[in-house]
Amino acid sequence: MILGLLIARGELYGLEIVRQSEGRVGAGTLYVTLNRMSEKGFVESRLEDAPPGAMGPPRRLYRATGYGLRVIRWWESAKRVFARRPAILGMP
């Protein structure tokens, strides 16, 4: 879900992901998930360039990596296969 949003919208920061997910991603779990995805190499992050006069610490912008893109493509194709052949999963 998060990876899909990052691929579709490009570079986003945490709050934008929460807003654009329309309630499907909670702010409570997002940052931990992003951190884990970053450790696994699905996403990469950088600190934003703060505009002059901006207040507060710089936000962290996240974007999907090439590896993340491949993973999500594989996941989509796997879902299609499993939907066509549920017997693979041991389902009748």
Binding site: Y13, G14, L15, A27, G28, Y31, V32, L34, N35, S38, E39, S45, M55, G56, P57, P58, R59, R60
Partner: protein
């Protein structure tokens, strides 16, 4: 003693105002439509009928009404007659801490530097941007809501983190002893 129900609201308000001016503690009762036929008539009626609770409710109601009226009058006075001389700035200015500073300090006690950098720093940055945006738009209620929401998130996360920190060594010991 009898309680008279007055149907006309204007008349009711006039009666209420008069009874309030006379120091009647049952002004709310009067406002609700019960006219006092003589001084303390309502009290007598209430006591005779054993309606102590009702009498107390009316007493407290009257006090609250008077308090609310005083507060409104004070607000109107300050609104339409502001002080002409500007107040002298205080000698010692209060230093405001940025929003979330106490959460950051608390988190430093429980989370590792790696977790702080990966999870807490972006979380705090987003929080501060949201709060500063609300300050810029002068949306005071929204500021409170945002701060409350993020504080609640922080408390739940911290509680979960503490629970995990306590459980981890216990589980490890359990496994080490071969009890699982």
């Amino acid at each position: 003693m009898k309680i008279i129900w007055r149907s006309r609201p204007i008349r009711r308000i006039v009666v209420w105002r008069r009874s309030l001016l006379r120091g009647n503690p049952y002004a709310v009762a009067t406002l609700c439509g019960f006219a006092v036929t003589a001084e303390g008539a309502f009290l007598t009626t209430a006591l005779v009928r054993g309606q102590w609770a009702l009498a107390r409710v009316f007493e407290i109601g009257t006090e609250l009404l008077l308090l609310a009226m005083s507060a409104i009058a004070w607000k109107l006075y300050r609104l339409y007659d502001p002080p002409r001389q500007p107040r002298r700035p205080p000698l010692i200015r209060r230093i405001h801490r940025p929003p979330g500073a106490w959460m950051y300090q608390m988190a430093q006690l429980f989370f590792s530097p790696r977790t702080m950098q990966g999870v807490f720093d972006p979380w705090l940055a987003d929080f501060r941007h949201e709060v500063f945006g609300d300050y810029h738009d002068k949306r005071s209620v929204r500021i409170l809501v945002t701060r409350g929401r993020y504080t609640w998130l922080f408390i739940t996360h911290l509680t979960a983190q503490i629970a995990v920190s306590v459980m981890k060594p216990m589980v490890a010991a359990w496994r080490f002893l071969g009890l699982s």
